[in-house]
């Protein structure tokens, strides 16, 4: 018979079980190792070709002049969509995605990946 609250006996046991959610800052889940998080830039491999900035869909990656006279990319994580196209476009594998995902900052412009 179809009764209101028919599933109740099946779910009432959850009261005494461990909840499915975790209290984030105290307990953490480990992200998969292939997560596309904050990128890592290997300065020594960069040839200043600008392929990353050309293909960046959100304008997060821009070529900035550096002290040695060359232009190299900077990544503004405020704009980044973590699609990793820059890493794919790079001919020298100078950009690497890491699994770091805790990217909150207090001020705009602080979350920039530089050399």
């Amino acid at each position: 018979m179809r009764m209101p609250g028919k599933m109740l006996p099946k779910i009432v046991g959850f009261v005494f079980k461990k909840p499915a959610t975790v209290l984030y800052p105290k307990e953490r889940l480990t992200p998969p190792k292939d997560l596309r998080g904050k990128m890592k830039f290997h300065k020594d491999r960069c040839i200043s070709c600008g392929a990353c900035a050309r293909d960046c869909p959100s304008g997060a990656c821009t070529m900035q002049p550096k002290s040695d006279g060359k232009k190299r990319p900077e990544f503004d994580l405020d704009f980044c969509t973590f699609c990793a196209q820059c890493a794919e476009s790079c001919p020298k594998d100078a950009i690497e995605m890491t699994a770091e995902f805790e990217l909150a900052h207090y001020r705009r412009g602080e979350a920039v990946v530089k050399e």
């Binding site: 209101p4 609250g5 779910i11 009432v12 079980k17 909840p19 499915a20």
Partner: protein
Amino acid sequence: MNWLLSIIYLVVFPGILFVLGFAFFAEWLDRKVYARVQRRVGPPFLQPLADFIKLSSKEDVVPEKADNAIFTAAPIISLAAILAAFLYVPVVTATALHVFEGDLIVALYLLTIPTLALFLGGWFSGNLFGQSGAMRVASLLFSYEVPFFLALLAPALMAGTWSMSGIVVYLYGNPLAFVVTIGAFFIAVISLQGKLERLPFDIPDAETEIVGGPMSEYSGRRLALFRLARDAEMVVGAGLIAAVFLGGPWCPFISLDPGYIAWAVGAAFFILKTLIVLGLLILMKSAVARIRVDQMVNVAYKYLIPLALAQMLVVVLVKYMGWF
């Protein structure tokens, strides 16, 4: 020293402070159990109190279109009425603070006032959703009040008195009378769920349908009071059912000596029984969907009221046969 005891009874235990504290606890329990059934963590113990304090300190907006006096009075009146109703519930011993023949009826009427206050508050808030919620409150009033009243008539008939304390005294003598009125007990719990506007009967303040119904325009202190009033209503309603059906402070070892231990045990048993009723209220809402206004009227008039009437017939028969 009798007046001092009375004041403690009124203000501290089992008066205002006790009801309010219990109300916060009931809200916490409600949210916690609901969360755990849904496999969430749920709020920490003092969360309801923190919510109350925070809401009280928030900006309190009265809409331009609202009628200021009624808008402000509604939450205060509903809280006052609930606290007044609790005076007639026997908590510590079989006698409540104020006893007279017919106090059950008075308590029931006092418990209807919050509903009316909610209706007025919603209607005079000047909000379309508030008014539509108020209409739902008014149209549902009879769907749960009638079965609630009828269900509470059964133990009154059983005990042959209109006084709550009288019923409790009767239950002290005949604890098994509960078995006879068990049907009415469940009807009363279901109608109380409707009275408190909780799932599956939270039709008047259905968040996804009419935003929050009568509460849509409430904010700050007034909202805090309204929420507190609803929690207190839950406690008082559950306490009333616990007293009338389960015998309130009655326990198997009633003849304890000295008196104050008997009082403490009595109060503990009252709280325990109230918690049982609260537990039923909480579990009821955890596995159901919200029903519609017309379906609610159907449930009330097709099932609850006929069952309550049948229960009264059973009580009359039992009394006539002289089994109790």
